[in-house]
């Protein structure tokens, strides 16, 4: 997808600006959402849905995360505890100073989605980038058709953004929400099963519909197969990729797939676009 980019740091794109975490919310046992503001209480930058931010804990490290939400004076990132840096993030308390640079990458193709029904599919922490677009669509509700939201988590306690997934979104007009967990639990009376089979079970119809699919690689692979089986075209299935990144601006080399850099040309690709790239995802 086209690179349409405006970076907030006009001078040195590798220099973060100092920001502050003003709120830490425990979403699940291993996911926290951080609300981030500049030191003078402003929004660090205004990302488009699907764009990324380089977040750094000074002295520990820096990594690329999706921006899951934004408001008048903040952005939010939801981070799963997976390694050395994210372990350190999870120790943060409100008030912590962090470095932020961005926004990076392309974004969900909002213009192409206008006037269409949209099926959002998220798996695990993959709901974080999807949520940025869901929020955009709900804020511009009349621009879009029917919204279906299908989200799969390991178990009830692993459901991210519980208020949105279990309460708020289902109350929105012309919006259907499907939640599933991989394993059953006593406090869960909803659907149990993996995302790909749930897609087929519900039997979404491809006519006039675009799909946004984000999650772990195995879910993308099997979920795509389910969608193709239901008759969706590869051009209509949009997903995001994730690779190790250092610079975020297409220079440092490591996040390439063929001649494309995920940080700059991605992270948003359609399945048709991914077909053009070497199989190294």
């Amino acid at each position: 997808m086209a690179i349409d980019h405006a970076c907030s740091c006009e001078k040195n794109p590798l220099l973060p600006s100092l920001c502050r975490v003003i709120d830490v919310k425990q979403e699940t046992p291993d996911v926290q959402t951080y609300t981030i503001q500049t030191l003078d209480g402003k929004k660090p930058f205004s990302p488009l849905p699907g764009q990324l931010a380089m977040v750094s804990l000074l002295g520990v490290g820096e990594a690329m995360f999706s921006i899951t939400a934004q408001g008048e004076d903040y952005i939010q990132s939801s981070i799963k505890r997976t390694g050395m840096l994210t372990d350190a993030f999870h120790e943060m308390q409100p008030g912590q100073e962090i470095g932020i640079r961005g926004p990076y990458g392309n974004h969900f193709p909002i213009e192409d989605l206008k006037g269409k029904d949209i099926l959002f599919i998220g798996g695990g922490i993959g709901i974080a980038p999807v949520r940025s677009l869901i929020r955009y669509c709900l804020e511009h509700r009349s621009d879009f058709g029917h919204l279906d939201i299908l989200y799969g988590a390991r178990s009830k306690k692993d459901i991210c953004f519980k208020e949105d997934c279990l309460e708020n979104w289902a109350k929105e007009p012309d919006t259907s929400v499907y939640i599933t967990t991989d394993v059953p639990s006593d406090d869960w009376d909803g659907h149990v099963g993996f995302v790909p089979s749930y897609i087929e079970e519900v039997g979404f119809q491809p006519e006039g519909k675009k799909v946004v699919l984000c999650g772990p690689p195995i879910m993308i692979k099997l979920g795509s197969a389910s969608l193709l089986k239901l008759g969706f075209a590869k051009e209509d299935v949009i997903t995001t990729l994730e690779l190790r990144m250092k610079c975020g601006i297409g220079k440092c080399g490591r996040c390439n797939i063929g001649s494309k850099f995920v940080c700059l040309d991605g992270p948003v690709f359609t399945l048709a676009e991914l077909d053009e790239l070497p199989d190294e995802k």
């Binding site: 490290g61 820096e62 250092k246 996040c255």
Partner: protein
């Protein structure tokens, strides 16, 4: 202008008043185990009395570290609540003259310019160094047995993008050089040393050719794009030990890592050269790695040089300098790979379908 070979030190002395001059010279290093003194030719800062060696083989290391240092500070920080700060560290204001760069290495700088100056973002660190550099290129007189720049479309006698082009006048053993300014920066440099102009001299020598000629398909980049799953990769990557020597000596390799160095709650963010030959390069938190073995890593390196970069920037990222061939401890040879890939049946599905390596012809 015409500059006598014997006047080179004088010219460099004049130039070094205005800028730091770097030129090929010999560095002596004592081998710690044997005590033997080893000599290596590299770009060194010129001082009065430094012996400059413009002829002979090219430098062991390319001069890329003068534009893109192997370790470079990016910013300082302090992580201490209200006292936290982030302070940019840009390269110093220092004019440099790179004197005696060969056409292959000049071409590699052009490729780095494309990476660091184009595609949405300008890299501030590289840009600041690059803008302060004036480059005097020299026509190559002694390609090594591993040199194949002319098979990669580079004329070893010319470097059109250099600020000044310098060729020996007349024959290779001629006593003077012809210097031609190719940019405004180059004109200013020649003006500074115009007092040494001999006025008259023979035509610039243009007769150098590489001895190693390789058969490279015109559209190898497009052919390779269709060979991602080709059996050739199993074969060529067999000997690789993943040491990264090729990437550190390559004049066009520009990949970098970013890391911290801490002193208490203060510290410094720096970037340093990285190598796509290392498993850590693409390994993600959680352990997933899209390029888990040396096969995927070397494939990515060769594909980047010979196909991906063409697609993104319109040129090949191998300049044929031969350094990776000369220094690989496992004798991997990119020129041999180019020939094998040129000869390969793109639809082959097993080892035996790939034609054996073609014989080398030496001119």
């Amino acid at each position: 202008m015409i500059l006598a070979k014997k006047d080179i030190p004088k010219a460099l002395e004049i130039l070094s008043k205005e800028a730091a001059v770097y030129a090929p010279s010999i560095r002596k290093i004592e081998d710690r185990t044997t005590g033997v003194i080893q000599e290596e030719k590299i770009f060194l800062p010129f001082e009065e009395g430094t012996e400059i060696i413009l002829d002979g083989p090219n430098t062991v290391k390319p001069p890329k570290d003068l534009l893109f240092p192997n370790v470079e500070k990016m910013y300082q920080y302090k992580a201490a609540g209200e006292d936290s700060y982030i302070r940019e560290i840009l390269p110093e204001d220092e004019k440099k003259i790179l004197f005696g760069i060969r056409p292959c290495d000049m071409r590699s700088i052009e490729s780095m310019d494309k990476v660091f100056f184009t595609k949405t973002y300008v890299d501030s660190y590289y840009a600041k160094r690059r803008d302060q550099v004036t480059i005097v290129a020299i026509g190559c007189l002694q390609p090594e047995r591993t040199c194949f720049c002319d098979s990669m479309g580079i004329d070893p006698n010319q470097a059109p993008q250099a600020d000044v082009m310098m060729n020996v006048a007349g024959e290779p053993e001629g006593e003077s050089y012809v210097l031609q300014a190719q940019t405004e920066k180059g004109k200013a440099l020649l003006d500074a040393i115009s007092s040494l102009d001999q006025q008259e001299g023979a035509e610039p020598y243009q007769g150098t050719v590489c001895s190693l000629k390789i058969r490279k398909a015109e559209d190898l980049d497009k052919k390779l794009a269709g060979m991602f799953d080709h059996p050739i990769w199993d074969k060529v990557t067999k000997g690789c030990i993943g040491c990264g020597t090729c990437t550190f000596l390559c004049p066009t390799c520009y990949c970098f890592d970013i890391d911290n160095e801490n002193y208490g709650n203060e510290g410094c963010k720096y970037r340093c050269w990285d190598s796509c030959m290392f498993s850590d390069y693409t390994r993600m938190a959680g352990g997933a790695n899209p390029r888990p073995t040396k096969k995927e890593r070397l494939r990515n390196r060769y594909m980047h040089k010979l196909s991906y970069f063409n697609e993104r920037y319109g040129e090949t990222l191998c300049v044929g300098c031969g350094r990776c061939i000369a220094s690989c401890p496992s004798h991997l040879d990119i020129s041999e790979f180019i020939e094998k890939a040129t000869a390969a049946d793109p639809d082959a599905v097993s080892y035996t379908d790939v034609p054996a390596g073609t014989d080398r012809k030496e001119a």
